[in-house]
């Protein structure tokens, strides 16, 4: 059988990935440039018995998917900058209550309404720190439709494995561009199912007690275990507590389950890095221009390569160190004021060798832009 091939937008590729991963509930509110995700799901979800609901705003959408996750469903919402800002309070709730869910942010130019229809990658730090209080978060991204699909599936897998919200941080170019997507066969990408408790009815079930492997089995609302879910600090049954030991334990658990597994969650791609003395680090659509310039400079003898990050949070420090510590030049290519660049600087051995090749004017960064910046960095002028 030949595989199903589609020629679609990145937003649709995300939809396809979500459906492949087993999505059965979506709540959202339209906003450019993420709207197509909602539009396609409003059509496709009911075809497989799933539910689509357009809520009154982004806050309600985030709340609704949390509710639906608790009944045992795989859930998604999608938005862009302003909506992502609005979701921060309820996103923090999902962190605290350890709710598996996936949030797409198709980034656009900010701050505020900004340039809504233009490309930007300016929400990287917000994804990490947007909600109040100490916490950790997972955020993935991709630069092409095959990867958008794969990372979407990955997002659901990580959400289920770690009982955590996962952010998909796409951008306008990837979201709106059309290209080829080959839908993998069922089973080709492994799926992580909701881990449900084996504890029988009548036996004490602890929704917030990690197993030895760190995972926390869940029980669906409506099932035999009645427990409590709250955004307050809570004990292993889910009931509120302000006992300092419990506070400390829970906060450490929430952060450690993500940060200590950073390597396990690190997804990335390498191109021509074996002998590279100039390492481009990039992600999302910017990585396309980065790869383009790498491939056009290689034939001219330049030892240049690309590290494309797909996991942005937890920041893949090990991977970045590994590939950049010995580089003469590390150049972060991104469409913001250096949000990932700053992280790379704090990670590598020689921060002074890290440079930023960026654009912030709403225009997609071109290979030529990068080439010019490389010349300047290397002291060769324009």
């Amino acid at each position: 059988m030949t595989k199903q091939i589609k020629f679609i937008q990145g937003n649709e590729a995300c939809v396809e990935g979500a459906l492949y991963a087993g999505l059965d509930f979506f709540a959202g509110y339209p906003i450019t440039p993420s709207t197509e995700i909602a539009e396609h799901l409003s059509k496709l979800l009911p075809q497989k018995g799933g539910k689509f609901i357009q809520m009154e705003d982004e806050i309600a959408s985030m709340c609704a998917i949390i509710g639906a996750s608790l009944t045992g469903h795989k859930v998604l919402t999608a938005t862009s900058g302003p909506g992502f800002s609005l979701k921060q309070e309820s996103l923090g709730y999902a962190v605290m209550a350890e709710i598996p869910c996936v949030i797409v942010n198709v980034q656009r130019g900010g701050p505020s309404t900004g340039v809504p229809t233009h490309v930007s990658q300016g929400d990287v730090m917000q994804a990490r720190w947007g909600t109040h209080g100490d916490h950790s978060i997972v955020a993935l991204t991709a630069s092409n439709h095959q990867d958008v699909f794969a990372m979407t599936v990955e997002a659901f897998n990580i959400a289920e494995t770690f009982r955590t919200p996962v952010i998909l941080l796409f951008d306008e170019v990837v979201g709106h561009m059309r290209e080829r997507l080959e839908i993998p066969e069922p089973g080709e990408i492994p799926l992580v199912k909701r881990l449900r408790t084996a504890v029988k009815g009548g036996v004490d079930y602890h929704p917030y007690l990690p197993r030895e492997d760190g995972r926390l089995p869940m029980s669906d609302f409506g099932d035999v275990h009645r427990y409590n879910v709250t955004g307050l600090v809570h004990d292993m049954w889910g009931f509120p507590s302000d006992n300092p030991k419990i506070v400390h334990g829970l906060l450490r658990h929430l952060v450690d389950k993500i940060e200590n597994n950073a390597s396990q969650m690190a997804r990335y791609k390498t191109f021509y890095l074996e002998d590279a003395d100039t390492v481009l680090v990039s992600f999302g659509s910017a990585a396309r221009s980065a790869l383009h310039i790498v491939e056009s400079l290689r034939p001219r003898g330049e030892k240049i390569g690309l590290l494309e990050l797909q996991t942005i949070w937890p920041f893949p420090a090990d991977i970045v160190s590994q590939y950049c510590n010995n580089a003469k030049y590390t150049v972060v290519v991104e469409m913001n004021m250096g949000q990932v660049c700053q992280m790379v600087k704090t990670t590598v051995r020689h921060p002074e060798r890290v440079f930023l090749a960026n654009r912030i004017d709403g225009v997609f960064i071109t290979p030529t832009d990068i080439k010019n910046i490389l010349r300047l960095i290397k002291g060769k002028g324009v």
Partner: protein, 180 residues
């Protein structure tokens, strides 16, 4: 095959974006080529000159935007004025005789085709103007086969409208081949 970068431009209702998508989709689904299509969104897309970029190739396409197109199509004066000078030296510039007066010299092969007139005369429906344009492009460039375009159209539009589209496509093909 040589990588071909194209820009289709015109005004909102002319269907240039749809045409771009159909071409790229035909290339990907039925010709085993690689294609990327992008377009302008927002205010730029609403009033004024609509634009869609398509790149066709037989290898991976990384940078998805077109800076200097090998093929530039302009279906309104406004889009012509705005975009004519981005054409790649030696490229192909296609305009519609009804909507565009080409006053400006560029280093490109200029083809002024009476696509709109032909469609209105022979089909009578302005809605297939874009398909006729596509026919002309294919006729001139032979990037994909007309059959592939038709396959895409058959997937996309109600069967009652297929014939009309085929007709427009053929008209375009002819116009294109004639001036080749």
């Amino acid at each position: 095959m040589e990588r071909c970068r194209m820009v289709f431009s015109g005004s909102g209702g002319q269907g240039v974006i749809t045409a771009a998508i159909i071409l790229a989709e035909a290339a990907v689904l039925y010709e085993n080529l690689t294609a990327v299509q992008t377009q302008a969104y927002g205010a730029a897309a609403r009033g004024g000159a609509t634009r869609s970029d398509v790149i066709l190739a037989d290898s991976p396409i990384n940078f998805p935007k077109v800076i200097q197109p090998n093929v530039l199509v302009c279906l309104t004066q406004e889009s012509y004025n705005k975009f004519f000078d981005i054409i790649r030296p030696g490229g192909l510039l296609i305009t519609d005789t009804r909507f565009v007066k080409t006053q400006l010299k560029v280093d490109a092969v200029q083809k002024e085709l009476p696509m709109y007139e032909t469609v209105m005369e022979k089909v009578g429906k302005p809605i297939v103007f874009n398909i006729c344009m596509l026919g002309a492009v294919v006729g001139l460039t032979e990037l994909v086969t007309p059959e592939s375009i038709m396959k895409v159209l058959e997937q996309r539009i109600p069967s009652g409208f297929i014939e009309m589209n085929r007709q427009a496509l053929d008209l375009g093909l002819e116009l294109g081949k004639k001036v080749k």
